[in-house]
Symmetry: C3
Subunit: 343 residues, 3 copies
């Protein structure tokens, strides 16, 4: 690992050195994990006592005043500075231009000369891999796809036909985009598949987690808005439309044709029913189930979900319910509405 | 995209043209998405007002009478006709016979000459790939497997050893069939793996979604009945037996040795406990948990699940529970059963 | 399948033959599935009536006394003996030493001569594959990884950079270890990714199911303790620390930075919130949600989860809640607290 001076790190993140600018640093760790050759950070005031006992060689912090005698890089926004410093020690992966000799690239495919196609990748007819994109080892791309400039498909991603990615899209291993939607007609001979002939469209700056599945639309396109972040093992059914800057935690499932607004946050394992609309800025607690339209700005919990605070109150009473019910039966007995069924 | 006349489309689905049979169509879209060169469809009467304002060039519908002045292909069953028409514009993928030069096929493997083995596929010893089957790029098939006639394994499917597929089975990317069941013996040294030496058997006309996992049996076989449809990210534990014509929505999990009847519908994220029996025709709401045997024909909701309608009623009261409990405490106080603990 | 005599099977598991030691056996099946050339087993007394009517040729059992006239291999612990016998009929897969001609192995990689690297595997720079390890077909391993001695990666596993596996680790197909954690800073331009530069560390004797995802840490390492068993489609967020000998059933999700003790059992689809601590020996019912710290030894159910028995009681009252609430309203009406709103 390369070593950098505190002064060099400060320069990279626009910070001001208080203390020893010549101290050498080899990386970044948490307050508990950092040693004398490591930088750590204090994002918020409550972390200061942990910083005081940290062995870190230097800190990113808003102010050095609470860390007397320590080397501090003062910055206005430690979180933003942390990103810059991490990139300094761990530069972003850049493409190694060219098509690996083992890759199978269709004659009708466009691959920008600056793009990288990894070992055993397969790219189908009429697809485009734009400038500085990376297609990882073993990734399979169907026909008529587009991998936008600066996008990065990790190893073992699958794009079926007609999947269009914006710029700077990052997709993790095992994700499958464009698999058939789950649509069947009920007939006398059982379920008959409705051909799923639509596509998938992913906006700029979207990140998609490992083993996540985004099904193709029946006719039009399943879409994810720009800036949206999707964690691992998430499922988007056919014709789902996600907004911009949404956050979908791991194992969320959204059924077909649901429409999700902008700035929505869905906790882990949340389920959303098909054909409903979730408004902008909605926040949903983990494991909740959304079964009906939700207006903008709501905070929800439970299955079926309702207002977060009301759910908390109901759940407190749910825990007391055996006691409450016993009381009801005693009262009813006393009032002659129940005959000795008190317990 | 090929263009077809309304009359040609009508002929393909046994429909009757009302209006302009020479109009050219290039595809099918929803009522909202269709333009003048597109066909759309009215499956049910409530969609008629949306059809009236649709820009579609023509419609599939039961009757033209409510669409005066528009070009309509009258059919008895618009859903069934839609499938035929979609197949007209988007013919089913047919195998490109032969084994790709990069595929690794064991000497003891049978591959029908009409079957297609894609780039980088690996097929193990004593396995059979029957007529017109497609084995997608990067798909790995173990030993002693069978891929039935007309089956289609998309890229990146994995079959461990001893996985037997019926005819016309479709498996989407990332699905893993035959992974070891989750079985351990508790010993003084910790958990010791019980070898999982059974197999997996999949009936005819089954479809299996992306990244779904079906574990091999401990001794016998995990099985899925004919015509059953399984969505993405579903988990079937070892020794599970699914019936025929079941529908398992995304992210369902069924624990080991559960037996599921025919015509069962499990909503998204439903969990089923191990070693229980779920009867024929049972319907389970999304996110529910089935912890005990279920008789035929039940409709269930909740965790642990009970009758759907009863659950709805209990949930309504759950929302009102803080208010109800407050009332109980006031009553109890009034009756001298509680001392001033009213709120 | 090889055939073995009852006496040979008994010798392999330290058992005593009662009956016909020369009888030939070709495998092991359940009591219902076994034929005359098959061994079955009676792990616990309640299974004896099913054994009495089984067609099995011989049994593993604690005692022959309840199986008069049948051939029995008497053993002290039938479950432990079963494992030995299964390994006799189905020997553990041993590595076929060498690197497949199609594998892409970086020049800076160490591969022990006894290890097996399968077709189309890719192994990155500075990684180590230790003695007797198996790297399955299509498995992709990044840079600076270690695959410990005797470990087995099935086909289509992905290890990103900096993933370190102990000895005898088994990882099933489609699992992804080291994908980026889900961490973003909120800025005026939307969410900005926090580089995830930590690693993943897996202890000895861990098994990881198909399509499971274990994300790399932000800075340090996501870790799984020795002897822990993880089923399919499980999600571990960044910086999670799992203890030793834990059991995580399918589709469990654990959010970032949660710390799980030793000997913990999480039922299927359980969710655990981030940044909390779950004590040793905690058992959690399927589908529950853990939202706060849990002391050692608790048994929990529900979302948010609380004590298992208390949850059972609350749930019983939840089912009766419409009736109870009706009673409350009648009482309130009678007491003049409600005006005729009884139903």
């Amino acid at each position: 690992m390369a070593s950098l001076s505190v002064a060099e790190v400060a320069a990279a993140c626009g910070g001001r050195v208080v203390g020893d600018g010549d101290r050498r640093l080899v990386g970044v760790r948490s307050l508990e994990g950092a040693g004398a050759d490591m930088l750590s950070f204090v994002s918020e005031e409550p972390a200061l006592p942990r910083a005081a006992v940290s062995a870190a060689g230097a800190f990113l912090a808003r102010s050095a005043s609470a860390l007397l005698g320590r080397t501090v890089i003062e910055v206005l926004d430690p979180s933003a500075a942390l990103i810059l410093v991490l990139r300094l020690f761990h530069p972003a992966r850049i493409p190694r231009p060219g098509i690996h000799v083992t890759a199978v690239v269709d004659a009708g495919t466009f691959v920008d000369p600056s793009a990288e196609i990894g070992p055993y990748a397969v790219v189908g007819d009429l697809s485009r891999v734009e400038a500085n994109a990376i297609v990882g080892a073993h990734t399979v791309i169907g026909a008529r796809c587009r991998v936008g400039a600066g996008s990065w498909l990790h190893p073992h991603v699958v794009l079926y036909d007609d999947v269009v990615l914006g710029e700077r899209v990052e997709i993790h291993s095992g994700a499958v985009l464009g698999g058939d939607g789950f649509g069947y007609a009920t007939t006398e001979k059982g379920l008959v598949k409705i051909p799923q002939v639509g596509g998938v469209t992913i906006g700029d700056d979207v990140e998609i987690g490992a083993n996540t599945c985004i099904d193709r639309a029946a006719l039009e396109t399943t879409s994810v808005g720009a800036g949206t972040k999707i964690d691992d093992l998430v499922m988007l059914g056919h014709n789902v439309r996600l907004g911009r800057h949404d956050v979908l935690c791991a194992q969320v499932g959204i059924a077909g044709s649901a429409v999700i607004g902008d700035g929505v946050v869905l906790g882990g394992q949340v389920g959303v029913a098909g054909h409903i609309t979730v408004g902008n800025g909605v926040k949903v607690q983990a494991q909740s189930g959304i079964g009906a339209d939700v207006p903008d700005g709501e905070a929800l919990h439970g299955t079926p979900a309702f207002a977060y605070r009301a759910y908390q109150k109901s759940h407190i009473e749910f825990r007391r319910l055996p006691e409450t019910a016993r009381l009801v039966r005693r009262l009813a007995e006393k009032a002659g509405l129940l005959k000795g069924a008190g317990e």
